[in-house]
Symmetry: C2
Subunit: 192 residues, 2 copies
């Protein structure tokens, strides 16, 4: 299958898991009436952040455009799946990535720097507790959004039904992201 | 109604036409499963470009975010409605607006600079023929998109069913747009 070809060689998920993940991602898009071309379906990205625990820590992405100035993606999180804590630092003297997350379907719990919220709805993936440090909770339901300015630590997790999130941002360069979890490799060494 | 309040004072459409247009716009979004918050529903923008011919020349917009660096909108075109020819020039020494149009539903005929296409599918709004000068046709169906770099003349028209178009761009500043049709006022003088 074409789906299996791209963007998985350097992930730890195996072919079967990758194929099933892409299929489930496409099903999320279909349910939300988000239309992709066949070419796009063939380049869904599955990120397991090198932790080999995709069910808990992972993200599925469809990048529509990523020029020097503008990037737009749709991201899928399965139920309770977490995108781990990270920030987008300055790059070669230019401001880091700015991003707006807009919830399209499901529910997203977003955690950012700031006062710790009283009721935290999410549980950090087991074994990774020490790598999560920001606890200001923002809940995004469909139609709700939040803008993150550069260098702000953040992580997010989907609710019971999973979620689709649109990301509107400046240029996206995964290699420059700084994760709190030092075990994480977003991009394999060979690609850096 | 809240819908009627905003962004119409300086347009030539009357209250009734504005109200009906917003209602029809919301219905487009609903059919495409694009969820807006109540706050957003209350600030749908109707642009008639000061030509008082909304049915033929006009655009309906929902701006999700517009920071110094990133802008994202959903735009609705009713059947055969046209967004008139314009370009986004340099602003105070900075590059002009770059924009990616992604068709979400319906069909869009986009015209840009370049070789004139053999089969032109659209008709320019009657009486405005002299203000349309670029004829390289790009057809966008759902899931298809096109990126326009700064200062490129372009115009677009929806097909028989109308269209929803996502726009992913750099900062949007309507006041700096340059329209080929010198009668057009995108932003009223008082707001400039």
């Amino acid at each position: 299958m074409n789906y299996m070809k791209k963007r998985m060689d350097f992930q730890m998920v195996n072919k079967q898991e990758f194929y099933e993940t892409v299929k489930a991602t496409l099903s999320f898009f279909e349910k939300a009436s988000i239309v992709l071309t066949d070419e796009e379906k063939g380049r869904i990205e599955v990120a397991d952040y090198g932790l080999n625990d995709l069910k808990n820590t992972g993200l599925q992405l469809m990048t529509f455009v990523n020029t020097d100035r503008v990037c737009a993606k749709e991201m899928v999180l399965f139920p309770h799946q977490t995108c781990p804590e990270h920030r987008h630092p300055e790059r070669n003297g230019h401001p880091g990535k700015e991003e707006t997350f807009r919830c399209r379907s499901g529910k997203v719990y977003l955690y950012v720097e700031g006062e710790k919220s009283e009721n935290i709805h999410c549980k950090v993936p087991a074994g990774s507790e020490e790598y999560y440090t920001v606890w200001h909770e923002i809940i995004l339901k469909p139609g709700e959004q939040y803008t993150l300015y550069p260098n702000t630590l953040h992580w997010f997790q989907a609710g019971d039904e999973g979620a689709i999130i649109s990301e509107f941002s400046t240029n996206s360069d995964d290699a420059s992201d700084i994760f709190t979890d030092t075990r994480i490799k977003r991009i394999p060494e060979v690609e850096k």
